[in-house]
Symmetry: C3
Amino acid sequence: MYPFIEVTAVAALAMYGVLRGARRHFDLVGICYIAFAVAFGGGTLRDLLLDRHHVFWIENDHLVWIVMAIAVAGSIFPNLIARLEPVLWIPDALGLGLFSILGATYALDGGTGRLVACLMGVLTGSCGGVIADVTCNELPLVFRRSPLYATCSFCGAATFVALRELGVGNSLAMGIGVSVVVALRVGAVRWNWQLPTKPTSEERGV
Amino acid sequence: MYPFIEVTAVAALAMYGVLRGARRHFDLVGICYIAFAVAFGGGTLRDLLLDRHHVFWIENDHLVWIVMAIAVAGSIFPNLIARLEPVLWIPDALGLGLFSILGATYALDGGTGRLVACLMGVLTGSCGGVIADVTCNELPLVFRRSPLYATCSFCGAATFVALRELGVGNSLAMGIGVSVVVALRVGAVRWNWQLPTKPTSEERGV
Amino acid sequence: MYPFIEVTAVAALAMYGVLRGARRHFDLVGICYIAFAVAFGGGTLRDLLLDRHHVFWIENDHLVWIVMAIAVAGSIFPNLIARLEPVLWIPDALGLGLFSILGATYALDGGTGRLVACLMGVLTGSCGGVIADVTCNELPLVFRRSPLYATCSFCGAATFVALRELGVGNSLAMGIGVSVVVALRVGAVRWNWQLPTKPTSEERGV
């Protein structure tokens, strides 16, 4: 089950990267860069911070081939991936759940505190997009008004960490944690849940 | 003495991050991201480059709680922190001194050369701000005309490294190094000391 | 031979950094930052990802002195370096070749797969420029229409990896790999070879 979710989630992230690159008319090199940044950025940062070696995609060669294949295919046939876009958020939500809880697990296994474990979950889940946005010279999406993303990740990771502290078995805690992230994310996309922000002066009509 | 300066310095950096995020109307997630980037960015990069594990904030859990608390409080009561802003540069200057000399110490202890130790001091002191600026899609402040910051860091670190080479005890050398950074930074803010730059054509009135 | 190419390549990269900083009217601190980012960014990322410690420039102190000297000299006498610009692409091409093949070698020695080794070559060769561009708040040059750069790196690294697999001796494989990168890069600059991109609506005259 786990490797299957991982592959589909990495593929969904890579496709988002390809779509973003194609929209900005990058060439193959640029599209590959963005696809790798979105798919691998968060996990790489997690592995470096927790001193896990090899980094996960160096260890799991097949993920690199998948992202590369998607980037090349997406550069040649951009419409192929554009047609998948409406359903991409589903594997993306699954991946957010999986990566968030994996990040928290690795952190706890590495002996970090509880809050750090939750943050490592958030970082694994959302930093790839931040790195890609920053590289593309755009303000990261998680900083702008958009449906909850990092928040879903945090709540799920916190649930998982709390359950582990309460003595719940690891597999059950992981299952519940992933479900919390996915359920929140599905709700956020469906009903456009957002965190409150203060209106800018333009929005207040000034 | 040292833990007290560290906590106030991290808190000051986190408040700067919160103010910057609030000014750009980020939501809680964005404000947390910036607060963590400003407070932990430089030290994290230093620890990764010198292969020190765990990274300092994973080791010192309480710093993470402090930054998180400031980010949450600052999102709910932005005026609270805005009122502290006029005096924030004082703990910030202390923190710049502390982090610069700590960075240089860790580098020397890790067996690096002298120039590398000075640069590691600068990087520890100023890279958090650079990472936060880049993430916010702004040109880093240290690249723009502003009172000396990285330069104070470099001079203090160089003084510290020179004193250690001359056989001065570590504590005394650290004390003098921190004092040099703080004195220079206070002077730079007070009298607006800047490095020379070539005027742009607009500034020359062309 | 190798240390000589390394020093000239690092010097060429640092000069590009100085020119870029000077054009944007950065002060000495900004110019140093950019020069270090261009010269050391790619190799640093490679060393962190492959867990090679110390990072190459901490190990090889003299490279840091060279970049620092170029940044200081370039801030004081900007015309000196500007006059060298027309020929800088030659040591830069050599450096691209050297760093790409070195990156791939280190990766294979670290036990990575073949595709990862090729990508590590590309990353070593081109990530310094990407980091510098992102820090300067510009869209990375490798993402915009420009003569082949990362592609040369990839083709040379792939040739090197293939030759090693076929049992060719390491030195010969490295020599051929470097030659492929340099030859492609010289051709790309000379005849302006680019990867195809889809025209933007402006370019289509819409």
